[in-house]
């Protein structure tokens, strides 16, 4: 009888340890995921705060010839940007474009660097708006007249 009791106690002991270890593992695992997520969010916020672009065209004379508009965008932030995920809207319409880096040097769009964007779009004479948006949501808008 005493031996049965001790076996039961042993089983309970092992079970409680297993349960405790599982709970502990889950807590540590979930916390690790939370910490990783916080780190990602912080990195995103830092990249967003360090990013800044400006469309530097002369709004009085935006080059537009044969249905091709040329826009110049300068990186005035502190972060080297990639223009692969840049999005361009002209008058609220998504526009496909070609990018050429104007400033010499590395292939990256470094701070102070200017990229030249050429897009094919039909625009009438009059007022228009161009909006360029980086992958992290930082954007700039230029109102111009053709």
């Amino acid at each position: 009888m005493a031996s049965d009791d001790s076996i039961t106690q042993m089983i309970f002991f092992i079970a409680s340890i297993i349960v405790a270890v599982s709970i502990a593992g889950t807590i540590i695992g979930v916390t690790g995921l939370m910490a990783e997520e916080m780190r990602t969010k912080a990195n995103n916020a830092v990249s967003e705060m360090g990013s800044s672009i400006v469309i530097i065209n002369d709004p009085r004379h935006v080059p537009y010839e044969d249905g091709v508009i040329t826009l110049y965008i300068k990186n005035i932030g502190e972060v080297t940007q990639s223009y692969g995920d840049l999005i361009l809207f002209i008058d609220g319409q998504f526009v496909e474009f070609e990018v050429e880096k104007v400033s010499s040097g590395s292939d990256n769009w470094v701070t102070g660097g200017v990229i030249e964007i050429t897009a094919t779009i039909v625009l009438d004479a009059g007022d228009h708006t161009a909006k360029a948006i980086l992958g992290n949501g930082v954007s700039d808008t230029l109102d111009f007249r053709l």
């Binding site: 106690q9 309970f12 002991f13 409680s16 340890i17 349960v19 405790a20 270890v21 709970i23 502990a24 593992g25 807590i27 540590i28 979930v30 916390t31 690790g32 939370m34 910490a35 916080m38 780190r39 969010k41 912080a42 990195n43 916020a45 830092v46 705060m49 360090g50 800044s52 400006v54 530097i56 065209n57 002369d58 009085r60 004379h61 935006v62 080059p63 040329t70 110049y72 300068k74 005035i76 932030g77 502190e78 104007v102 102070g112 200017v114 030249e116």
Partner: protein
């Protein structure tokens, strides 16, 4: 029974401590990097607000534009962009010199920058953009 409860509690307590330490460590790291980025971002904005340039004179016949740094921020002569009739024309700029000092690349407040441009500026619309995006038109 009593011992198993104590050990289980101890295990969960230690796990909680480890979790807490992880969260605090990450929070601290995240907060300091965000603060640093905020500081840099505000610094950049303040610099941009305090940047001002004005055209002193334009000699269209000789292609010379004189621009004064009328702000409170030291600028540089590189990273300056010049638009002529809406086209980025940095390649037409033959020289960028600070009046009275040919060696320097620093454009201090109050100093006049002489931009020499190859080609005819007659009737041309000019726009000059500084490194932080501040611009002037003529």
């Amino acid at each position: 029974m009593g011992m198993s409860v104590s050990i289980a509690t101890a295990i969960i307590f230690i796990a909680s401590l480890i979790s807490f330490a992880t969260v605090i460590g990450t929070l601290d790291e995240a907060q300091s990097s965000i603060l640093e980025a905020q500081r840099a971002s505000s610094g950049r904005e303040v610099d941009a607000l305090h940047t001002s340039i004005s055209i002193v004179s334009i000699d269209r016949a000789n292609g010379t534009v004189m621009v004064v740094n009328s702000g409170e921020v030291t600028l540089t002569t590189y990273e300056l962009d010049v638009f002529i009739n809406g086209t980025l024309s940095n390649q037409l700029v033959s020289s960028l010199t600070i009046e009275g000092n040919n060696e320097t690349k620093l454009w201090l407040p109050g100093e006049v920058l002489v931009i020499s441009i190859t080609g005819d500026l007659d009737g041309a619309a000019i726009k000059i953009v500084t490194a932080n995006g501040t611009s002037i038109y003529d």
